[in-house]
Subunit: 481 residues, 2 copies
């Protein structure tokens, strides 16, 4: 989108020296995003938005396959709604944007621009839900939300972002808990199989949970700078909101009961995770399943007889095999410039086709993840390409998994915890007594937070890593975005 | 979504007596929409949103096929941006919602919640566009917008609505004009072939054009109460915005020039048009191409041997043929109740399958549009069903076309115009001198407005229908939503 620069690749900061600057360079230069005119806002450029569209498509399939339907609720929430649930207002009020004037008048009640939609959706559910026959209520929405953050970074934390938020109501506590974990599992499966990002899953501590939830569960990913990123959350809301919004139903036994609720969401932050998990010094590295362009074809010496024809034929074969392919036949930039551009943009594989390739009945291929060069026979190139793309998809996941394993350490006392966080650049697994004081102490000394209490609980020590009292939970600690 | 009511169909107002109430009854009872807690806002329920998703899918295909890419620009626009283009601010300022507080602080500059995104997109384009090589810039976005309207009605006019807005910049005035008309044609083709709504297309008068445009073109549809509805617009913005936002590029001749711009959009209003063009006393009538459920299967005497099996088999066959099918196997409501519900929801065709049908090797079918009953052989039912759906799609378009033709009258003097508008309940075609005064006079006397100056200009009289001076344009006049 920005004016073209022949040397842009040389301007990417060193990934090992200045990771934050590397991130910013990559997302801007790959034309995924730009800064909006209002502080803290972002413009998602076509290349970033195409990734979001693929995320939406894949997630929508999964959200619908689990019985949910999409709907749309209003952007503006009466301020009084937000105030109904005590923890919720405390958690969100500091970040809220208010509409106070509209249609030429000062509003009698200020309106909150939704930071999340529990309250407004509950106000509708209290109307819609009458009987157990109306349950489970399984609704999802894709929309924008606003949280006025002090310190922002494109995709990771912005004043406005895009997300999906599921909101469900059930007859029993058990069903709500089942839904909460089911949707977390949908996120994990999607993240691992589509984004190729291994996820640690577990429950949040009370300190880290959603404002108004009984329990929050999350998927956590490890970035290449060793910081963790919360990539999605699923909340068991219990009856916190159904009681204050009076969401009652006639049960199978004929009693009036409050519904049991969940909510769950993932955001455009996932795009940031993709960049920071897979990227390298040349820029983005996209897993094929989420790449707007899976294969780029570059004609070499396109003026020579046959080159354009073969390129077009290969493009059509790949397209027919449902591979997202782009034939870059521009004659205004050099081949070297194209190499740089498509590597920066993380296209999983490129095929060069020139007179000599055609003579040999092959295309010269380059894998973006390994930068390995090889040839593919033109005969049957669609199937061979798909096999390579599948291989790249797997390889990226395994590489990220190896990184995570190599950056996860166990600590049995506070010194080891501090040392682990400083040196390992990643997760430290350590036991915790369950007291907020210890959690606060860890944060104060190390700036790390409890990312989650993993589902697979093990006992790696008997005592809390902080206070030495009997341990209750295994916790993944890390510095985090 | 609301609590189920066995007699809901009897509560729909008479379409011929109280069309506005009929409309409200249908959209609420079909669970397409509900009123939001803030005055003038709507909640789009799953059934309404599924229609919107189909609209998005069909339009996205067309928008991308014409070379546009989707992106996302921020919701909040600095107030100063809106003020840059004089006509634009005049047109939109009265309807704008302002954010004045955020993150616990009063903002130095109030933010406008986007009523449309020309200004914020221009601020980005002025950064992104440097050279003719960056043109044409062809970007579209799907988002919510806010216009604080005094008088609202779900889908037709609401404080917040969903839409797509395309924003393009070109090298020459001719290219911008070509784009403007190309996208109007995309809208027309989509509306006629997918929504089955015949459209009148043409240019808006200066009075009716977009605030800041050189020329606005629209597609106009006629509702069953004889009122017209502007269903989509495409604007040639000339250099109005590129000059005030300094969008310049180096031309092929090496000169610095201002770009030529267009914008175009359709909204959730299209859903309201669908209801009002095709609906009848029993509720919605959806064209198959836009129906969330194209065929509903109702088992009759489902407990009898074989019924469920055959229903499942038919469902699977229809699904395999890419027909959106739903098997309604609820045993909690009667068959009659199901008939009412699916008719209300406008499902294009229903198939009843009971023991006798199976014995005869058929399903008993009902077409929603004509309420005609017939049988379809179970053998090859997918192909036969698809053929029927295609027939329904065509029939709906033709019926709407006949309605429009029967409600279009020519007037050569003011009395005929007034009489035509009163009696015809539809369009009156009449000549106009081009003066604003005459346009105002027609509105004052009849409350009708100039819907468009159709592309197919004819001379049905030599003089203006209002003032008697020489006529310049043929105009479609109508009362409108």
């Amino acid at each position: 989108m920005a004016g073209k620069n022949q040397e842009f690749v040389t301007h990417i900061a060193d990934i090992n020296v200045d990771f934050p600057q590397w991130y910013t360079d990559v997302i801007l230069k790959a034309e995924m995003v730009d800064y909006g005119p209002v502080k803290g806002t972002m413009v998602i450029g076509p290349y970033g938005y195409e990734i979001w569209e693929l995320i939406q498509e894949e997630l929508n399939d999964r959200i619908k396959a689990t019985g949910h339907r999409n709907a749309y609720f209003p952007l503006f929430i009466p301020e009084s709604f937000l105030k109904k649930e005590a923890e919720h207002v405390e958690g969100f009020a500091p970040e809220v944007a208010y509409v106070t004037k509209a249609g030429g008048e000062v509003l009698a009640e200020p309106l909150v621009v939704r930071p999340t939609s529990e309250t407004i959706i509950c106000s509708m559910y209290s109307k819609w839900i009458q009987s157990y026959r109306d349950l489970p209520m399984l609704i999802n929405q894709w929309c924008n939300v606003v949280r006025w953050e002090k310190s922002t970074r494109p995709f990771l934390r912005t004043s406005e972002f895009l997300w999906q938020e599921g909101h469900t109501v059930h007859e029993t506590a058990e069903q709500a808990q089942e839904e909460t974990l089911k949707m977390l599992e949908v996120y994990r499966e999607f993240s691992e199989n589509v984004l190729a990002i291994p996820m640690s899953t577990g429950r949040k501590t009370d300190k880290e949970k959603f404002a108004g939830a009984v329990a929050t569960y999350s998927i956590e990913a490890l970035m290449q700078d060793g910081k963790a990123l919360q990539a999605g959350t699923s909340h068991n809301l219990g009856q916190h909101f159904t009681k204050v919004f009076d969401i009652t139903f006639q049960s199978r036994e004929g009693r009036q009961e409050y519904g049991w609720q969940t909510s769950w969401g993932v955001t455009t932050r996932l795009i940031g995770a993709l960049v920071m998990v897979h990227g390298d010094q040349r820029g983005l590295v996209l897993p094929p399943k989420i790449a707007p362009i899976e294969i780029v074809i570059l004609p070499i010496a396109a003026h020579k007889p046959g080159v354009t024809d073969v390129c077009l034929k290969v493009r059509d074969e790949l397209k027919a095999a449902d591979i997202r392919v782009y034939l870059d036949d521009r004659d205004t930039v050099s081949a070297g410039w194209k190499f740089n551009e498509w590597e920066l943009k993380g296209v999983p594989m490129r095929l060069e086709i020139g007179p000599r390739d055609i003579e040999n009945g092959v295309a010269t291929a380059l894998r973006r993840d390994t930068l390995e060069k090889f040839t593919l026979p033109l005969e049957g190139i669609a199937a061979a390409s798909q096999a390579k793309l599948d291989e790249i998809q797997r390889a990226l996941y395994e590489k990220a998994m190896r990184y995570r394993d190599a950056h996860t350490f166990d600590a049995t006392n506070f010194d080891e915890l501090v040392k682990g966080l400083d040196e390992s650049r990643g997760y430290v697994r350590a036991m915790w007594c369950g007291d907020r004081a210890c959690e606060d102490a860890v944060k104060e000394r190390t700036s790390a937070t409890a990312r989650c209490m993993p589902f697979k609980q093990e006992t790696i020590a008997d005592t809390c890593v902080c206070c030495g009292k009997p341990a209750k939970h295994l916790v993944f600690w890390a510095k985090a975005y």
